[in-house]
Structure formats: C-alpha cells, structure tokens
C-alpha cells in the first residue's frame, strides 16, 4: 500500500521540484524586482514568518469551501436526478442550470453579501454556486446513460421509482458523479476566495482571501504567492478527499478506481 502511494506521489513530486528549481534559476538569472516575481525562498520565508496567521486563514477558507462543496454536491446530485427522471423537466430546466456556469461570479458576489451578510455565509454561498454545475451535469449524464436493458429488467420486476433510482441509476452514474465532484472540489476553493474578497471579516480571523487582498495592497508579492500556494493546497486536499471517497466507493466494481 505504502509502496503504491509512493509510486503515485513520486512523479508529481519530481515535477513540482523541477518547476520550483526552474523558477529559482530564472529569478537568479533574470533578477526581476521582488514586487514582480519573488524567489521561491522569499515565498517560503514569507510563509514561515506569517504561518501563525496563514495556516488558520487557510483552514477558514478550506472550511467555507468544504461547506459550499457539500451543499453543491447534495444539490447537484439531487437536481441531476430530478432532471434525469423527466425529459420535460430536463428540456425546460437544463438550459437554465447551464446559466449557473455562465454567471460571472465576481459580478454577483457583491449581491451575495447583501443576501447572506458578511462572514463565512457569503463565501459558502459563492463556493456552492460555482461548484454545483459540474456535479449536476455529471449526475445527469451518468443517469441518462443507464443501460436500457437493466432499466427494462427493473421495469419487469416492478421496481418502484425510488428503488430504480437507488439501486440502478445512482450506482450506474456514480463514476460520472465522482468525476463531477473532483472538478467541483477545486472550483469550490476559488468560489470561497471570491466570496471572501467581498464579504469576509478582516482582522484576527481573516481568511486567505483577505490576506491576499491586503498583501496585494502592500506590494507583498511573496506573501501573495505564499497565500495562493496555501489556497491551492486546500483545493488539492479537498480534491484528494473526494478522490479517496470515489476510490472507496468504486474500487470493488469499476475500472476507473483501479
């Protein structure tokens, strides 16, 4: 198991180390001003100096992203299932659902503040809005691709609508749903940070979005990079958890979890 994990982690680790090395060499050779591109060591130093502020901030952002993601996952699967159940609903509502993906989140984020008030609620709402569509679309596609032969068999056995959903359509759509959830996991962190840009409290309990804004205003590019790296790590952790969940659900019967 450990050997397998190491085998999986080694290639991306080598790529990351190579990229950071290339970044460091480029900065040493080209010597851009610190405010344009900080050296990797400067970013690491900024992180170490302000870790007491950055780590809790990243956890707050991750918390908002996770809550938004959970809402999006539940709403996306539910809505996808409802749309898959009725051709009329799908034709009527799916184009509207697609609009969710087109909504410029930055433009509506200020309205979210008015609706949800300041604090994590706005970030959670923003994360949910931005990540619901991939789950919905993946659920719908997965359910619509249910094997017609099996669907007929369930009909012959007089399975109820709920039984058919629970025992056939949902498991059939699961690999597709997991893919949608993986995409949504990364998006939810972006949504949470956009929400924080307009609606988070600053001060001792600042989330990462506020620290990014503040560092940008103070020309602390090193701190901006450190904050962005932490936000990316939060997104990566969420993505990892979803992948793990997907693997646990699919490993016994689906090739994608191999």
């Amino acid at each position: 198991m450990i050997a397998r994990l190491l085998r999986a982690a080694l290639p991306p680790a080598i790529v990351v180390i190579a990229l950071v090395a290339a970044w460091d060499i480029a900065v040493r050779l080209m010597q851009p001003s610190e405010y344009l591109v900080p050296a990797p060591l400067a970013v690491a130093r900024a992180f170490l100096e302000q870790r007491a502020e950055l780590v809790p901030a990243a956890l707050r952002t991750a918390g908002s992203a996770a809550a938004g993601f959970a809402i999006a996952a539940a709403a996306g699967v539910l809505a996808g299932s409802v749309l898959a159940a009725s051709r009329f609903l799908m034709r009527g509502l799916y184009p509207l659902a697609t609009l969710l993906q087109m909504v410029p989140l930055v433009a509506i984020a200020p309205i979210l503040v008015i609706w949800c008030g300041y604090g994590p609620r706005t970030s959670v709402a923003s994360a949910a809005i931005v990540s619901v569509f991939p789950v919905l679309a993946a659920t719908l596609d997965g359910m619509r691709s249910t094997d017609p032969g099996l669907a007929e068999l369930f009909g012959v056995c007089r399975a109820s609508r709920l039984q058919r959903w629970w025992k056939l359509e949902l498991p059939w759509a699961l690999p597709s749903i997991v893919t949608g959830l993986r995409i949504a996991a990364g998006l939810s962190v972006i949504g949470a940070i956009v929400g924080e840009f307009v609606g988070a409290f600053a001060g001792d309990a600042s989330p990462i979005g506020i620290i990014i804004l503040s560092a940008m205003r103070e020309n602390r590019t090193d701190l901006v990079f450190a904050s962005v790296a932490l936000a990316a790590a939060a997104g990566f952790a969420l993505f990892g958890l979803v992948s793990l969940l997907g693997w646990a659900l699919l490993r016994r019967w689906h090739a994608s979890a191999g």
Partner: protein, 328 residues
Amino acid sequence: MVTSIPRRAACVLAATLCGALALAIPAGAQDAKPALRKVRLQLNWVPEPEFGGIYAARQDGLFAAEGLDVEVISGAAGTPVPQMTASGQVEFGVVSGDQVLTLRERGGSLVALFTVFHTSPMGVMVPEASPHRSLESLWKSDATVAMEAGLPFVRYLNKRFPGGKVKLVPTGAGLAAFERGTVQAQQCFITAEPVQLELRKVPVRVFSLAEGGYDPYTVSIATSEAFLAKDRAACAAFVRALRKGWASYLKEPGKYNPSIHKLNPAMSLEAMDLAARKQHDLVAPRTGDEVGWMERDRWVTLAGQLKELGTLKEPPAVIDAVFWNAPR
C-alpha cells in the same frame, strides 16, 4: 507597330500620378511638424472628476502643445498601476503617496511627479443618524466598517485609537451595504461616495482622515526612475500640461465634465459637477504654488508615519529621490 499615347491622355495621366503622389506623402512631412511623443497614462479608477485636469489638458490640446500624444487608460479596482508604472508597461500612472514609498522599498523605483490632491480626500463616512461624532468614537465601537484591506490608514487608526473593536469588511459590496445598514461606516473619497449618496438624498457625515492626522498625497501621478532619467524633458512637458489642464478644470469644470461623462456614463453629469465643487479646495493651491506641487516635508512625514506603522522597514535614505517637481 508601336502606338504612342495621345498627348492629352499623357497629361491627364501625369497629373493623376502627381496628385496620388502628393496624397501619399504624409501630412506631417508636408508641413514638417515634429511627430508627437507617444506616452501612456494609466488611471487607477474609471474617468471621474478626480482626473478632471487630465481630461481638460487633453480636450484643450495642452498635451499636444507640449509635444505629447497621451493615451489615457481607464482603470478599475485592482488595476496594479504602481507595478505597471514601475516596470515600464506605462510611462505614467496614478498612484497614492504610500504606494510610491512601499513599492520603492520592494525594488519598484517610482517617482511622484504631480499630486492632484494636496489634502487627501480619503475619509470614513457614517449615516447622518449615526451616534458616532468622531473617528475615535467610531473606531472604539463594535461597528462593522467597510474598508479596503491593507490600507495604511487602517493601521494608523488602530494605532491612534488602540483597543478598537470595529469589524472590518471589504468594500466590494459597494454602497448597497452602507445604505441597507449592513455596514455602519465605509471608507470613501469625499468627492465620490458621499456625492452619490447626497444625490440619492441619503445624508451622511464624513470624517476626514487628513484632519485625523493621516494625509498622504493622493491621486498622484508617478513615473519610473528609469523613464525620468531617460526622458526628463517629456516628464516636465507632461507636468506642465497637467498644471495648465488642472488650472482650466478648476476654473470651469462644467466645460470638461461632459467629455468625462461620455467616458463614464454610469456617473451622472450632476454628480460630476457636484464632485468637482467638493474637490475644488482640496486641489486648488493654498499658497502661491502651482497645482500639483509637492512639499518635501509632506513626504518626510508620510515616510515617518509608514515606518511607525510597520508598513515601511525604513524611510527612504534619500527622500528627494521619491518625488520630482518639474520646474515652474
């Protein structure tokens, strides 16, 4: 057999060719006027009366008279004007005094050339019915205040009024949050947000940060040290045009506001006229100086304040390198 072109046809052809040649020669070559020097000015916000003198200089051909072809580029919240200017992406940019000092400490060699406001128009507004009658009272309360994160004056107020319990939130929700009472106070430009609210019949009270002791040069026009060294004459010409432009705008803003309004229809002409009236005394020189003139002492004070607040590690070793007043 060779046929010759009839003489009349040859004459017409020759005249046509001469005419085409004359048209092909650039107009500039005919009257031998020197070409204008192209420069870019990046604003940090949309066109508004705070940039009135710039548009006046453009409208009246003052830049062209100084040999400059100035492209004025509109900005928005988050446009990284100091970085763009210091790195040479644009020749001139609108920044604030504190940005000049903090970026210089991080290797971005900005030099301020001109300041629109000799007294900072930054303030904090509260509804007229608010119980807070001073910045101190507000800052020591537990009010929710909309303020841009990372602004030095937040640190200044924290230091000046220790023990404050205000809750700071971003300004992204705009005036709607203030009008609904979701926030009890909001940072403002005396010439912008309060003007919009006044026109909507929402009475507000504004606490000036300049009166509160923090008064950096605001809406300053800066260039990079490299550009100033390379083309000091262009910088001087640019400032001369700005001074004249601002003098004209201060005298007669109504003449120029319609052209600004065309570029920013979201701000009504009425709001622009009111803003121009409100900003007049903050821009018009108090002494015999020209518009835009900067005092060394003000930069020394600001550098000292930023050091005290921890925004700067050290004040600049040579304060005179931070700004340059073009000769009158």
